[in-house]
Symmetry: C2
Subunit: 229 residues, 2 copies
DNA sequence: TGATTCCAAATCGTATATCATTTTCTTACA
DNA sequence: TGTAAGAAAATGATATACGATTTGGAATCA
């Protein structure tokens, strides 16, 4: 029986292709940490588990590869992407740049409600600090940033932000897990960003603030991390 | 005979998989404009032309899809991605942001030689103005920007820059084809960027200059373009 | 004539089969 | 005992085959 997979011939709803089913299935396992980095993704095994042939599974894994969640080696096979320390840092940096720009561009479109929602999320984050749980903190943190960026009129930029965010996804919680003290600073910086927006700061100021916010997260992560190559 | 495709069992060299051969082959046709936007990519036809089965072709096209060069429609097939006006603008904007940041980060690593090479390329661009050819101008233009960004220590950022650049690739020449006057301005702005670098301007200044440079290109493109939805 | 239905061709999606490569295990030899 | 050669197993890469879906057109009817 394994996992209940949505019937491909689901009546009424639009049936997903097997390749798509395999994609979401495997992806879910990766982001949930079920398949740890380095875990081998054997086509025949996955195909058997999903009760389909290897062809759609292969396609799914290639798609995951394109997103950077898996690595394929010719004639050897695929495995869940390793979390190279250097790459993690670089992606965080890139995310800061993209997110900063997206937030700045969104400025004129951010409504009172958006701002209120962001404030609310940051308040929730503050509450979380007392009984800290990296998982929920990370979740709220994502939603906070998403509220600010999603109004960006440039959809491509939003795509890039999300892609980068997801690439970091399956290990992002580690930042706050490893450096619990960072969470409090993070909330404070969020507040500063919200204040800037509310006080009609220039887009350059907001962009810089968001970028620095991520740099700071990154710095504390690195400080707490003895580089282990 | 058709196109001479590198033998998969090329002796000595590392043989490419058929999927990779198909990928580069189709991609080449797209970026060269041989396959215009909207052109259908029929698996069986391509497979026949490449003398292989449809399986690797399919894989190649999915890869192209992931890069945004092709679009796949379920049970219908793939076609070369349409050049949506809005998407073009958004990608250009995103490229400006990424390139600006990459160039700024590269500042401390740009050597005298790099600067000289960039200067040389811009001089070549200036010469090209007299007997203008959009194709070579675009080529040189790319190399100019590449010299500045490639020293960026953040490889991920370079990846993103290149990905965005290539996404625009198959229609980038149009900017200078449609707005020939823009080329001269472009060269002047390049010169300003080089001057900033030479005079040890702050990274923020350089970043802004590069970003504005692309904004200006975009603006003149839009000005010369009656929006045709 | 125009719209509708139905059939056939085109093409994709997936399964199965075969070939190629890599890895691992065994075995023989120094 | 350690190493190297070779066979066997595992797995990926590709080919072929077949079923499913879409699309275009022919035939039918009002």
């Amino acid at each position: 029986m394994s996992t209940a997979v949505a019937s491909p011939s689901a009546p009424g709803g639009e049936s997903l292709s097997k390749a798509q089913i395999a994609y979401t299935w495997v992806r879910e396992r990766i982001v949930s940490g079920d398949y740890a980095p380095g875990h081998r993704l054997v086509l025949s095994t996955l195909a058997a588990e999903l009760d389909m042939s290897v062809v759609p599974v292969r396609e799914a894994i290639r798609q995951l590869e394109a997103e950077g969640l898996a690595n394929f080696e010719r004639n050897v096979g695929a495995r869940v992407a390793m979390i190279d320390e250097a790459r993690y840092v670089e992606s965080m940096e890139a995310l800061g740049i993209l997110e900063g720009a997206a937030t700045a561009m969104a400025l004129s479109s951010i409504s009172e409600e958006d701002l209120a929602q962001a404030q609310d999320l940051n308040d929730q984050l503050r509450v979380t600090l007392e009984d800290f749980d990296p998982k929920t903190f990370t979740e709220l943190n994502h939603r906070f940033h998403n509220v600010l960026t999603c109004r960006c009129p440039n959809e491509r930029l939003i795509e890039l932000v999300n892609a980068e965010w997801e690439k970091l996804g399956h290990l992002r919680e580690s930042t706050f897990s490893f450096v619990p003290g960072r969470a409090a600073e993070s909330v404070a910086e969020h507040q500063r960003i919200l204040d800037l927006i509310e006080n009609r700061a220039t887009s350059a100021q907001v962009e810089a603030a968001v970028r620095e916010h991520r740099s700071a997260t990154l710095a504390s992560y690195l400080a707490a991390h003895p580089n282990h190559p």
